[in-house]
C-alpha cells in the first residue's frame, strides 16, 4: 500500500474513508489517533478544512473526550484502572509503582517514547481487578512484582 507522506495527506485519506461527513467526526478523530497515537495539530486543521467545520468546533470535540490526546503519546499506552473494584484491590499501589519504574507522572511519556502512563476509570473487567491495560492488552490480577518484567517485555518487543 502506498503510504501517504504528510500528515495532511494521510488525514485527507482518513476523512475520505468516512465519506467527508461531519457526523463522522469522532470516528475520524479515532482513526487519526490510531495512526499517530495522538491528534496532531495539522491533522485537526486538515479535518476542519475537509469537513468545512470550524477548527474551534473540532477542538471542542477533541478536548472533550478523554480518549483523545493532543500531546504525542508513547508507543504503548499504560492505563491503570482506577475504577471502584480496582481501587479497592490496590490499583493505587500499581500506579505508584509504575510511576516510579517509568520515572514519569500520570499523563506523561517516558523519554524513550515507549510508554505513556494514564489513569482511567473502569475498563469494564472488574472481576479481574486490579487491572492495567498496556498497549491494548489487559494484565489481570496484577501485582507490583510483575511490573518490571512486563515493562521489560514490552521494551524488548520495541
Amino acid at each position: 500500500m502506498k503510504k501517504a507522506t504528510t500528515t495532511e495527506a494521510k488525514t485527507k485519506e482518513i476523512v475520505k474513508k468516512h465519506g467527508r461527513d461531519k457526523s463522522g467526526l469522532i470516528a475520524i478523530l479515532q482513526d487519526i489517533q490510531e495512526e499517530y497515537n495522538y491528534l496532531p495539530k495539522e491533522a485537526l486543521s486538515a479535518v476542519g478544512n475537509e469537513l468545512e467545520v470550524p477548527l474551534s468546533r473540532i477542538y471542542e470535540v477533541a478536548t472533550f473526550y478523554n480518549t483523545f490526546s493532543l500531546n504525542p503519546r508513547g508507543r504503548y499506552l499504560v492505563e491503570v484502572c482506577a475504577g471502584t473494584a480496582c481501587h479497592v484491590q490496590g490499583a493505587f499501589n500499581l500506579k505508584d509503582r509504575l510511576q516510579r519504574d517509568l520515572e514519569i507522572d500520570c499523563g506523561q511519556t517516558t523519554k524513550d517514547n515507549m510508554f505513556t502512563l494514564e489513569e482511567v476509570r473502569c475498563l469494564g473487567c472488574c472481576s479481574l481487578a486490579p487491572v492495567v491495560r498496556i498497549g491494548g492488552n489487559i494484565h489481570p490480577y496484577l501485582t507490583q512484582n510483575e511490573i518490571p518484567g512486563i515493562l521489560r517485555n514490552y521494551r524488548k518487543q520495541g
Binding site: 485537526l44 470550524p54 477548527l55 474551534s56 468546533r57 473540532i58 477542538y59 471542542e60 478536548t63 493532543l70
Partner: protein, 237 residues
C-alpha cells in the same frame, strides 16, 4: 394568542413567546445573565428561574427558554423561586468571585458568598454561558472561539489557546459577554483580543482609527462591498 398569568396578572402573548419576554413586555422584571437578543439561548446561567404551575403540578423552569402555554400560572418572585435564585447566585459567586456584575446581582438579593461553596480561583469571570461562542458563530460567522475540555476544566478559548487565524478582531464576544470576562484592549492603532494584536484602519475621510483591518476585509469578502467603500467610518459615511 395564548392566555396565562404571571404574578397574578392576566397576560396574553403570541404562541412561541418565551415567558421571559412575556413578563418583560408587561413590566415584570426577571433577572438574567445569559439571555441576549443577538444569539440563540443556552439557558446556562439559571438566574431567570420562575415557578410554572400547570393544573396541580408546579415546577421550576428557566423563563428564557420556556414558551408560554395556555392557562399556566407563573410566579417570578415567590419564596420557592427566590430560594433557587439565591442558590444559583451563591454558586455563580463561588465560580466567579471577581465578577462585579454577579456581586451586584447578589447584593441586590441579599446573597453573600457561602463558605460551603469554595471559591474558584482560576475561572476569572466566565460563567460558561456560551454567548461569546454563539455570537462568533451565529452573527459574525467566523467561529474563532469555542469551549475546551469539560467539567471543572471547561473554558472558553481559541483552538490550542493560540492566535486564531480566522478571528477578525471585531470584539463581538467581548461586547456580548455578560460578565466582562473577555479582555479587549483597544488603543489608537491596535486592538488586542484573544492574545492577537490587530492593526486598526484609519478612516479615509477624517483619518480617525475606527476598525480592525481584518474585520473590514472580512466584511468586504462576505458582502461583496469593495474595501474602498468600507474605508470610511460610520460618522463620515
Amino acid at each position: 394568542m395564548v392566555n396565562f398569568i404571571i404574578d397574578g396578572k392576566k397576560i396574553s402573548a403570541e404562541k412561541g413567546t418565551m415567558v421571559l419576554e412575556a413578563a418583560r413586555a408587561n413590566g415584570i422584571d426577571i433577572p438574567t445573565l445569559c439571555a441576549h437578543e443577538a444569539v440563540s439561548r443556552s439557558g446556562a446561567c439559571r438566574l431567570c428561574v420562575v415557578e410554572m404551575k400547570k393544573g396541580k403540578r408546579a415546577k421550576i423552569v428557566t423563563s428564557c427558554l420556556y414558551p408560554v402555554e395556555e392557562g399556566i400560572i407563573i410566579e417570578t418572585k415567590n419564596e420557592r423561586v427566590m430560594n433557587v435564585r439565591r442558590l444559583v447566585l451563591q454558586l455563580l459567586m463561588a465560580r466567579c468571585p471577581e465578577s462585579d456584575v454577579i456581586r451586584d446581582l447578589a447584593s441586590q438579593l441579599g446573597v453573600d458568598a457561602q463558605p460551603r461553596f469554595a471559591a474558584d480561583e482560576d475561572k476569572s469571570k466566565c460563567i460558561l454561558c456560551r454567548s461569546c461562542v454563539r455570537v462568533c458563530e451565529e452573527v459574525v460567522g467566523v467561529s474563532a472561539i469555542g469551549f475546551s475540555c469539560r467539567g471543572a476544566d471547561k473554558a472558553v478559548s481559541t483552538p490550542f489557546n493560540e492566535d486564531s487565524a480566522v478571528c477578525i478582531g471585531c470584539g463581538a464576544c467581548a461586547f456580548i459577554c455578560p460578565t466582562g470576562h473577555i479582555e479587549m484592549e483597544t488603543t489608537e492603532e491596535t486592538r488586542k483580543i484573544w492574545g492577537r494584536t490587530f492593526k486598526m484602519k484609519t478612516c479615509d475621510v477624517c483619518g480617525r482609527y475606527f476598525a480592525p483591518e481584518d474585520q473590514l476585509k472580512y466584511i468586504s469578502k462576505k458582502t461583496g462591498v469593495p474595501l474602498k467603500e468600507l474605508a470610511v467610518c460610520t460618522n463620515c459615511r
